[in-house]
Amino acid sequence: MMKDPFGGILLNIAFRMLVPFTLVYAVYVLVLGETSPGGGFQAGVVMGFGIVLARLILGERATIFNIQMKNSLVLAGCGTFIYTLAGWLTLLGGGKFLDYSFMPVHMEPAHEMHALGILMIEIGVTICVMMTILNIMDAVVERSDD
């Protein structure tokens, strides 16, 4: 957790404008990853950047964004688990591992189920990448606070 904010008042106010736009753009990259360039990894990086920026500016006052290190480690594992869960759901639906035609929900036409599976695994990848970035930042900052 950062004790002190990052720069002077000018830098803080200039970067404060960027934070909400960065977070919204990350969700855009995640959802539109199927039809346009983008996807889970990129969305995770952009979202992690937004949160890191908010913590740099606000310091200890960034109460929403100050995820503790033990929680972010667990959440990164949860992101990986969501990916694997998509594979287990297709097994439950009667298909092979990660064969999205056999998702347990039924949708017409068949490739809509593929789109659902791809969105699910990309959400998992996004959470994993975002929380990994926060992990590394937490570890570095924790050491420099001594």
Partner: protein, 101 residues
């Protein structure tokens, strides 16, 4: 022990480097991937995966298992970096190394 490890690593590196000459040239239209896999992926990707983006279709659907382990590798690397960098001493080697040789 160290000499053995270095020998094995050098041997493996030599094997990998010598196998480069058997790889097909980049952009060779007669190579096996360019004759079967690439045309099928380009023409069938949208029908198979429902995603107009060929990259997403390949990454998440045709190569889903690969991407799963990629995510796992990223998680493990983040975990390792956090464990090395954090100041928590749990599982650390003690400062006085009397117990070790």
């Amino acid at each position: 022990m160290r000499g053995f490890v270095i020998t094995v690593l050098a041997l493996l590196t030599g094997l990998f480097c010598s196998s480069v000459i058997f790889l097909p040239e980049i952009g060779d239209p007669q190579s096996a991937p360019n004759q079967h896999i690439t045309p099928v992926y380009i023409s069938q990707s949208e029908i198979d995966t429902g995603s107009p983006n060929i990259v997403t279709g390949t990454l998440a659907d045709y190569r889903g298992f690969d991407t799963m382990w990629e995510t796992t590798v990223m998680y493990l690397s983040g975990l390792t970096a956090a464990l090395i960098l954090s100041k928590s001493t749990m599982g650390r080697r003690p400062e006085k190394e009397d117990d070790y040789e």
